[in-house]
């Protein structure tokens, strides 16, 4: 009964989204304000029905309703409650329902928090979001209905053991919040193109939404990387896998968009380019979904893929992106601006930032699609791996870092290198000192790569600090945008530091240890105390105990496990990790060797690996500060009071 209600509710949500997509939009052309006023209540209603539908699916999982096909294939009665809930998005159908629910949530948020936006604009934005929802809800109902029934099963086939993890319980919702969040910037862009007018106000409305979506995406990507680090069991944190790339591309373009919105807002320039980036960020999010869901590329992360569904998404892609690009080719020529700027100016800096980020995104796209391209051209299937990506991305990252340092300090319109040198010499010296001193303190050996990595990281961080200091304001009076830029830049510097140091100074050894034998790595003594059998709620495990000491002082006791999940009989390596700000100690169980209780162990010393994710958290915080800058609220208040005044006038007139 409950699943049927969920499906019914989904169908109603589809009907509402069709109306939301058509009626207010029609109203904006006819100037009919009651049609336009339909947008807001429709957005609320759409959310209510989607929330109910999603709730029904969660209910089916929690109550082990194995007469629902999707529940029977992805859950099991022995699964802990948390994973029963996260199993809702553990495979295709539920992921899509979550997508749809999140889309309706963003639509709701726009309807609630955009009171300062003129009715025509808001109606168009909500209509565009409604039309996107039509596509997704149709996709759900036609090809991937999560509520399909089958004869009652005795028990479910269980969630993929890889996904039975807290990190993965929250990673997909975060990532989807980011992906789908770019639909708001997209809707703003399309709404502006429909109207044919793109003013500075448009950029101001789109900025906080873009920032928030970007925050979710940043955190989502970091969570995914963190999850891969401890759960896949071999201590890597980025693999240039198609699915990872699918999330990186919208992130890169989204970052470019955040920056180009600044120019459009402050200087009224690059309007067409900004609109194109807004379309691009969401298009790449959709493309990511296509790549993950259609099975055109093989990936370690493809937990659910189906070529037949691919065709639907492709047609959807064609409509969503194709129509917006046609609109772009018609409207963009009008967006030209006659503002000018000199070669050395903040405009140039931001333009360079945009170009580098977009080139990066294109390089990732090319690398990801390369096997497909060579296959379609019938020259065989050639994959490009990490060597290609590192070869392209590292130099581009270095150039980006250099530009980032100058960019913040540059003046609008016209600046000069002689003035800039007068400022940057100080951060440059600090950066040089940091890059030379730091490795001497903790690193076992000198490395050119780490020198360069630390130099660019500290260059980014110190120039950002310099920029804030030069504003000569107390930290409490600094604007949200300034905090955002500061934390964003420093966050990236922290991530770059982590990436550099863990790549250069990572130590990894595979050793054979009998009980009570020990091995030294990175100054730590790893003593293997043996392996015992242990029982989990839905798995059995070998549980090793490793005592770690340093200079005879106890550091940590780690318990890496090798689990076999009962239903899917899949062996899983659960690494034992002692996390620290400056280093992680990582132990994974290999195979039993011989009869005396000896095991092979993979022992790793990973300096600064946490910094990779710590930086992402800082960037996320920066994005939040920027999104909640007071001036957006102040503006909306001002708009409200003016609209009140006008309505008062109407009353008295």
């Amino acid at each position: 009964m409950i699943p049927e209600l969920g499906q019914m509710s989904l169908i109603i949500a589809l009907a509402i989204s069709v109306m939301l997509g058509l009626i207010p939009l029609y109203g904006t052309f006819r100037g009919n304000s009651s049609y336009m006023a339909f947008a807001r209540p429709a957005s609320y209603a759409q959310w209510v029905f989607m929330a109910f539908s999603f709730g029904c699916l969660v209910y089916a999982f929690v109550t082990d309703d194995f007469s629902v096909r999707y529940v029977a294939t992805t859950s099991n009665s022995a699964l802990p409650l948390l994973f029963k809930v996260s199993a809702v998005w553990g495979a295709h159908e539920g992921s899509l329902l979550l997508w749809g629910f999140i889309l309706s949530t963003w639509t709701l948020a726009v309807a609630l928090f955009s009171r300062s936006i003129p009715a025509v604009m808001l109606s168009r934005v909500l209509s565009v979001l409604g039309l996107i929802a039509v596509g997704f809800f149709l996709f759900l109902l036609i090809t991937s209905n999560p509520f399909d029934r089958i004869p009652m099963q005795a028990d479910g086939r269980d969630l993929n053991p890889l996904l039975q993890d807290v990190g993965l319980a929250i990673h997909p919702p975060m990532l989807y919040m980011g992906y789908v969040g770019f639909s708001v910037a997209y809707a703003f862009a399309v709404a502006a193109m429909i109207g044919g007018k793109l003013d500075v106000a448009w950029a101001r409305w789109a900025r906080p939404w873009t920032n928030i979506a970007w925050v979710f995406l940043t955190i989502g990507i970091a969570l995914g990387s963190w999850w891969a680090y401890y759960e896949l069991g071999w201590g890597g944190w980025w693999f240039w896998d198609p699915v990872e790339n699918a999330s990186l591309m919208p992130w890169l373009v989204g970052t470019a968009l955040m920056h180009s919105l600044v120019i459009t807002e402050k200087r009224g320039m690059f309007k067409a380019w900004t609109v194109l980036l807004a379309v691009g960020a969401f298009s790449l999010s959709l493309l990511g979904t296509f790549l993950v869901r259609s099975g055109v590329l093989t990936s370690v992360h493809s937990f659910a893929s189906d070529p037949e569904r691919g065709l639907f998404i492709l047609v959807f892609l064609l409509l969503v992106i194709g129509i917006s690009l046609v609109l772009f080719s018609i409207r963009a020529p009008k967006f030209a601006s006659n503002a000018t700027f000199e070669l050395v100016s903040r405009e140039s800096g931001l333009l360079a930032n945009n170009i580098i980020l977009v080139v990066m995104a294109c390089a990732v796209l090319l690398g990801t699609l390369f096997p497909l391209i060579t296959d379609a051209l019938a020259i065989g299937k050639i994959s490009v791996g990490p060597p290609y990506f590192n070869f392209i991305m590292v130099p581009l990252g270095v150039v980006l870092a250099i530009v980032m340092g100058f960019g913040l300090l540059m003046r609008w319109k016209k600046d000069s290198f002689s003035r800039l040198w007068g400022i940057v010499w100080l951060p440059l010296i600090f950066a040089l000192v940091a890059a030379i001193i730091l490795p001497l303190v903790f690193a076992p050996e000198f490395s050119g790569l780490s020198l360069m990595g630390l130099l660019i990281s500290s260059w980014i961080a110190f120039t950002a600090l310099m920029w804030v200091i030069k504003q000569k304001r107390s930290p409490f009076k600094l604007s949200g945008t300034s905090w955002g830029a500061l934390l964003g830049h420093i966050g990236l510097a922290v991530s770059f530091t982590g990436i550099t140091l863990v790549s250069v100074y990572n130590v990894e050894k595979d050793v054979r240890l009998a009980p009570n034998e020990s091995y030294e790595l990175g100054g730590y003594q790893f003593t293997f105390l043996g392996v015992k059998d242990s029982q989990g709620p839905n798995y059995t495990a070998y549980r090793g105990t490793i005592d770690i000491t340093r200079d005879k002082a106890s550091v940590a006791v780690l318990n890496p496990e090798k689990r076999t999940y009962r239903i899917q009989t899949m062996p899983m390596t659960e690494a034992g990790i002692d996390a620290g700000i400056f280093r992680d100690l990582f132990v994974a169980l290999g195979e039993p060797l011989g009869s005396n209780g000896a095991w092979s162990l993979r022992v790793q010393y990973k300096p600064f690996v946490r910094w990779v994710w710590l930086g992402a958290i800082l960037m996320g915080l920066g994005g939040l500060f920027a999104a909640f800058d007071k001036r957006y609220r102040r503006l909306s208040k001002k708009a409200q009071t003016t609209s009140q005044k006008t309505s008062n006038k109407e009353v008295y007139a």
Binding site: F239, V296, V300, L318, L372
Partner: protein, 182 residues
């Protein structure tokens, strides 16, 4: 207006590519070698470097050549499936360790990889420079070939083997080949 059409044109080209991609199966590549004798090689073994191994040694048996490398991420995913396949269906799977030059000490990475993930292979041939891979027409790693009793390649699979493919294709094929005369 023309330059504003560029994004649309690029996007349409991408759609054509993706549409073609849908009709292609990323895991199946017809090989001109299917139906031909398995290309000969004589390669050192991973754990016994002075002993050579060649397809000749496998005559009279139905066997599978599984191309893998320690640097290949999808091999990790495939490995569990291959291990199961060897255990359950008792098939002789020969590993071809392909271009495994990840560490200075050659072969080290491959051995460590097997220690971590287990070794289902009956023997492992080491193809350090990738010449044998070229002769066998290896596009990417992992790949698997089914060779019959007469030493003729009967089937080739590109990409990580999955359980569905093993159950539906490999097992029936191997059962049929085993029934054939050697």
């Amino acid at each position: 207006m023309s330059r504003y059409l560029i994004p649309l044109v690029v996007f349409l080209a991408l759609v054509v590519l993706l549409w073609k991609g849908l009709s292609l199966n990323p895991r199946e590549i017809p090989s001109p070698l299917v139906g031909k004798p398995a290309p000969a090689f004589s390669l050192p073994q991973l754990y016994k470097e002075d002993e050579k191994i060649s397809p000749e040694d496998m005559k009279g048996k139905v066997w599978v050549l599984n191309v893998w490398a320690s640097w290949c991420v999808s091999c990790r995913a495939e490995h569990k499936v291959v291990t199961n396949f060897v255990k359950k269906d008792g098939v002789d799977v020969l590993g071809l360790n392909y271009k495994d030059y990840g560490t200075e000490e050659y072969g080290d990475a491959a051995k460590r990889w097997l220690v971590q993930f287990g070794n289902p292979y009956s023997k492992i041939a080491v193809d350090a420079d990738g010449r044998t891979g070229i002769n066998w027409g290896v596009y990417g790693v992992p790949e698997s070939f089914v060779v019959d009793k007469k030493g003729i390649i009967r089937y080739k699979f590109t990409g990580p083997l999955n359980q569905k493919n093993i159950d539906e294709k490999l097992v029936p094929l191997i059962t049929q080949l085993r029934a054939e005369e050697g």
